[in-house]
């Protein structure tokens, strides 16, 4: 009924609006059911993507993750103000670095003496609980970085120190001596500064400006302790 009343009205107003001229002519009888298919192109593309990662070879999967890790290593080695580390965070890199650092800090001989170097578990606990404490500290101070992003940045920035550990172990093969110690000290100091600068470049922006020093100091302490562990390593 409303349509019947509207149609003369529509015809009258049809001339200024030719777009809706044919609207009154459309009528759907009750016999034909309204049905059809609605396809959303995005969804089908996503489905294709899922099935392709499920069916791809293991080598492809591993290479993709390794490439992501390698790209982040590059970001750490040449720290710029980029969001790549923060946007797609992952914890593979920190795990690889932490395990390799802890393995390299093992003494080769077991003396059984009380004052030995750190055990594997001790290094692991220091790195992960240190990173968690720093993250909680920066969140409590009002930073707007997420928990895992911060863990990711702190873990990846251990890369220079792991490289320093490798160099120290190689230098120690040459035999102890004061020159040996000077080389190791220089390398560790340079890598420590690199780690602190790299992590500060990523983390400092997330803090309110009057608390930046409060959030950066624990990072400094964290890398200082790891550098100390590396410097005092004796095979």
């Amino acid at each position: 009924m409303a349509e019947a009343e509207e149609s003369p009205g529509d015809r009258e107003t049809a001339s200024p609006r030719p777009l809706f001229a044919g609207l009154s002519d459309i009528s759907i009888s009750e016999d034909t059911p309204v049905e059809g298919e609605i396809t959303i192109p995005m969804r089908s593309r996503a489905r294709e993507f899922d099935s392709s990662t499920l069916n791809e070879s293991v080598r492809n999967t591993i290479m993709r993750d390794l490439k992501a890790v390698g790209k982040k290593f590059m970001h750490v080695l040449y720290p710029r103000k980029s969001n790549a580390l923060l946007r797609d965070w992952d914890l593979w890199g920190p795990l690889i670095l932490c395990v390799s650092l802890a393995l390299m800090l093992q003494k080769s001989s077991v003396d059984g003496e009380p004052g030995g170097g750190p055990q594997f578990a001790e290094v692991f606990v220091i790195i992960w609980f240190g990173a968690v404490t720093i993250t909680i500290n920066s969140k409590l101070l009002g930073g707007n970085i997420s928990f895992f992003q911060s863990l990711c940045v702190l873990g990846y920035c251990i890369l220079p120190l792991t490289a320093a550990m490798l160099i120290c172990r190689l230098v120690l093969l040459a035999g102890p001596g004061p020159i040996n110690f000077m080389i190791r000290l220089f390398v560790v100091v340079v890598m420590f500064a690199w780690s602190v600068i790299a992590s500060t470049a990523f983390l400092a922006d997330s803090q309110p400006p009057n608390r930046k020093a409060l959030a950066v100091y624990p990072v400094f302490l964290f890398y200082f302790v790891i550098s100390w562990l590396i410097l005092t390593f004796t095979p």
Binding site: E113, G115, N210
Partner: protein
């Protein structure tokens, strides 16, 4: 309206009077909160002369709401975030205040101002624990340089020992002190006891002076080490005593002296224990073979000769 203008003028005076009367009021810079408090105080305090009973009820309601602002529960993150509400400048100011205690200069009143933070105590304790372990290890390195027969090892277990000692001291002793002061609360009229967080803050910031002292303990001259230790201990203990004195002076004489001397004694024990454990002059088991060598520096010889004579007597 003239009444409203008069109201505005009186509001200001009443607000300042209220602020001086209640020293527990938190000094925030939120002007809108202050304004609403002024408004509330005037409406409730004055008589109902402008005839709006609902206005007074509203004032009562807002007064209640203001005082009973729901504290976030201790399981929420915001509760702990309120303890880290400090800026860099404030932390540095509190550290400076702990380094230079003056009689009558109460750390809690002048520096904390009812906004105790947990950042200072936590990170000062962490820094002190690591610095103790690192410098203790460094003294071993320096001792080995002079006497190559000493076996050097990284001594990583000292980090654990240092951490546990410092953290237990900085958190359990304030707990005991706070509990004791609350127990004796009845004897006091003027000042209420400090809250637990304020006590933790005082102890935490008082430990800051030990960080440069521990670094200075690297110098292997014995009398200089004792001098630095005594200096740090007096400054730190003086800070604690001057802070606790206003709270304790209204108590009975014996209790007050006992409390203050216990506080100073515990502090001295901590300093002495750290010096003895982390900065041993030489590992004692290597004294006897080392004394037979001739390549000793004068420092070590001075230390070694008494023990060697005891061993041979």
């Amino acid at each position: 309206m003239a009444a409203a203008e008069e109201l505005a003028f009186h509001e200001f005076e009443e607000a300042t009077n209220l602020l001086t009367e209640t020293p527990d009021a938190v000094t925030t810079i939120r002007s809108d909160q202050l304004a609403s408090r002024e408004h509330v105080s005037v409406v409730v305090g004055s008589s109902v002369s402008y005839g709006a009973e609902e206005l007074q009820e509203e004032g009562d309601k807002t007064a209640l709401l203001q005082e009973e602002k729901p504290q976030p529960g201790f399981w929420t993150f915001d509760y702990y975030q309120s303890f880290f509400d400090v800026d860099t400048a404030q932390v540095l100011d509190r550290i400076k205040g702990s380094l230079l205690p003056r009689p009558g200069h109460n750390f809690v009143q002048h520096h904390l101002r009812n906004r105790p933070d947990l950042y200072g105590p936590f990170w000062i304790c962490a820094t002190l624990a690591f610095v103790l372990a690192v410098t203790g290890n460094l003294t071993l390195v320096l001792a080995q340089r002079q006497d190559p027969s000493i076996h050097y090892s990284p001594q990583f277990h000292k980090v654990t020992v240092a951490g546990i000692t410092i953290y237990c001291y900085a958190w359990l002793v304030p707990l005991a002190l706070w509990g004791f002061l609350r127990w004796r609360q009845g004897m006091r009229e003027h000042m209420g006891p400090y809250s637990f967080l304020q006590t933790v803050c005082v102890y935490g910031y008082s430990l800051f002076i030990f960080i440069p002292t521990v670094v200075l303990w690297l110098i292997p001259v014995q009398w200089l080490q004792w001098l630095f230790g005594a200096l740090a201990l007096t400054l730190s203990a003086a800070g604690l005593v001057f802070t606790l004195w206003p709270v304790v002076q209204e108590d009975t004489r014996p209790v007050a002296t006992a409390l203050l001397s216990t506080v100073v004694l515990l502090h001295a024990l901590l300093a002495l224990g750290c010096k003895m454990y982390f900065f041993q002059p030489l590992p004692l088991q290597h004294v006897v073979p080392a004394s037979q060598g001739t390549s000793l520096s004068p420092n070590n010889q001075l230390l070694l000769t008494p023990t060697w004579s005891i061993a041979t007597s």
